[in-house]
Symmetry: C2
Subunit: 419 residues, 2 copies
């Protein structure tokens, strides 16, 4: 199968993009149309690499707008955790479908998930046509007996199934306050053996930082460093509360960091993400939305604006994190963090691409500024067409099965949220 996008804006220049199989095979002018299966007229469109959501909890779409504006402890204890006891395979499956629908409609082609019942999420995502990384999730309550039980239940056999190459797996010790050091080490060994990434939350809140100092005698990053689990395949969500020496530890070990600006603000975790300081040390920084329970959407274009503006605002520096660099964070860096050959529109890369309609106010007037307009003026709803793994999965904002997904979510939410 082949797709040719004709005469589209790429980095403010007109070009054609040829996709054969699941790869980009040519980016040049005047590619011949003969023998092409699908031709897309790009004349009113600009092309960008598919966005990579580096940290989310997809099925938590069901908690969108539920328990807002509460202190973190009260929110978890009275809203999220009691209702998560009602989770079923069906809810996780349809919650992930709803998440995929929203991600496709806002230009995301890959996401790094962390939630329960990962096989249901993997199945839903495979059906929706995008890429996802799905975890065996670890919680042991820092209890050695429980830790052994959790470890014994985890098996690479659970990764087996009739999945496409778009579906990948990970292991995810949840956080240092829910998972013992022993389990972190075990997870790192497991990941090494199976060549997968390790996905965790770290240094998200000031309280986590204070408790780590109290309980482990050191800050969160130092603690993981002392365990020897800072490795290139470790993907850390948040990393808000850390100092210069900890940044150096992350850099020395090529650890990947995912920033989640909307969630950090909404849950009041903090706003001074040290992008410049980490980037200057060569740390690969990606972008995430976090789950809909905290963000409250999965719109990576909105998240790009938030990330860039927040850097400028708290630093009092209008030159901080320009638009093009922000796009790189949300595409190329995300793909690198997840070890996927995408994130750029160039020959040999996986064909993960979205097109925006530039015949809209957000992209008008045209002034050689589509990157700026994408980050600062547009939002996810400007996305018109999405291609993932060489297949068109959205055209003119229409996604297959949309009505059924919305209907199912509205039906099933009553089974989940009971208090």
């Amino acid at each position: 199968m082949s797709i040719l996008i004709k005469n589209v804006l790429l980095n403010d220049q007109r070009t054609d993009i040829l996709i054969e199989g699941n790869k980009i095979t040519s980016v040049s002018n005047n590619i011949k149309t003969e023998g092409i299966d699908t031709i897309i007229d790009g004349s009113n469109k600009a092309a960008f690499p598919g966005l990579v959501n580096g940290h989310t909890h997809a099925a938590m779409t069901f908690f969108r707008g539920y328990g807002d504006d509460l202190p973190l402890e009260e929110w978890l204890n009275t809203k999220i955790w009691p209702n998560e006891r009602n989770l079923t395979d069906e809810i996780v499956y349809w919650g992930t479908k709803l998440a995929c629908l929203e991600m496709i409609k806002t230009g995301t082609t890959t996401f790094n998930d962390m939630y329960f019942r990962f096989k249901e999420s993997a199945r839903a995502t495979d059906e929706m046509g995008i890429r996802g990384v799905f975890p065996q999730l670890m919680f042991d309550g820092l209890d050695p007996v429980q830790a052994k039980k959790v470890q014994s239940r985890i098996s690479a056999k659970d990764f087996e199934g009739n999945y496409s190459s778009r579906i990948m797996f990970s292991i995810a010790p949840h956080a240092i306050y829910t998972v013992s050091g022993g389990s972190y080490k075990w997870a790192m060994d497991f990941a090494k053996e199976h060549n997968i990434i390790v996905h965790t939350h770290l240094a998200e809140t000031q309280i986590e930082h204070q408790n780590a100092v109290k309980n482990f005698g050191m800050s969160p990053v130092r603690y993981l460093n002392s365990l020897g689990v800072l490795r290139p395949n470790l993907v850390i969500a948040h990393c808000l509360w850390l100092d210069k020496d900890e940044i150096q530890m992350l850099a020395d070990n090529d650890v990947k960091v995912i920033h989640n600006p909307n969630s950090n603000l909404k849950l009041a975790s903090g706003h001074k993400f040290l992008y410049n300081e980490m980037n200057d040390k060569g740390i690969c920084i990606g972008l995430g939305t976090d789950g809909c329970s905290s963000s409250n959407n999965l719109d990576m274009i909105e998240a790009m604006k938030m990330m860039s503006l927040l850097q400028k605002g708290w630093r009092l520096d209008p030159t901080a994190l320009p638009a093009e660099e922000t796009i790189k964070v949300a595409t190329e860096n995300g793909a690198k963090a997840l070890n996927i050959n995408s994130g750029k529109i160039e020959v040999g890369k996986l064909a993960d691409i979205f097109l925006v309609n530039i015949n809209t106010p957000a992209f008008t007037p045209f002034n050689n500024n589509t990157a700026s307009n994408l980050v600062y003026a547009a939002n996810g709803n400007n996305v018109d067409t999405v291609i993932c793994d060489g297949k068109v999965i959205m055209e003119n904002r229409k996604v297959c099965g949309e009505e059924e997904i919305l209907q199912k979510a509205n039906e099933l939410v009553e089974k989940l949220i009971k208090q």
Copy 2:
């Protein structure tokens, strides 16, 4: 003319809304459909009061994405001011049309403008069908001779014309670093005589604050207080750099304040807007986008999310500025600041309403949380229908004349931006 919105969600309850002439005349269940001119099926929709953009420079849509990521001085001196010399009536007219198009498509029905050639902006807005407040703009370079000239050119006769009641006028001394104290006093007298608002920038940047102390021996708010121009009809954009005593001065004089979070972040003016402190003193606080040269869009729904999340983030308080209160800021408070009888969906108010399509991911699942979903999950592109002054000006996201406006803007931008 009458419009009946049937079975729509309002504050999470189903109701009908009747509009007769330019007013809301009934909000109740089972309003009879006989004799109604236009019936809108609200069953997949939620209704909100039209948004009020409290501070913008509409025609600066032409500068969208032009000169991003630069220090403020360099941006003004090399990008904005040199090109503003090329402004023509035609550019201001079409720039304002483009702004109105974008505002309508994102749910804004009223805006408080500040730009050159206000008659062109007023004419464009009147044609587009929304409300606007247009200023006689004052710059005198703090020069007494120039001040007299500027004052002598301003006349209430310029407010006359064949405008609808949606078009209002103001006087706008630009800022304390461009306009003399004498001109501020003159503007306040002029406003009193003609019963209009006074619109100005104040306390936007730290440099402005430092220079005020240097040049006037006091901070910006104290300076206006010393001039005796802090009055209830004064609408101040920004108010970022101020202290407790200055907040009390604003409160004592019932001055109106407009917060512009996106602009304040992007231009790196600051991020710690003192919402709680001002609100606790009873100050009426509205919301604005500022111009597209700095924000870079006019999406008030995006601005609501930014405002609410920023309050939570910098205060480390997740309970700060909840969703419903944010909507009040962007509607009721804005209308009050501009002295317009709108901002609420209730009997007797002007019929300025927008409807969102709730059959979309941002509003799914439905869980009695449409206010949260509007502020935290949606963006302007979720707006489906807009009614202003009792007329439907957008339905199914279609606005009359859209193609021509986009085309004209792309043609004319080359006449404006030459360097």
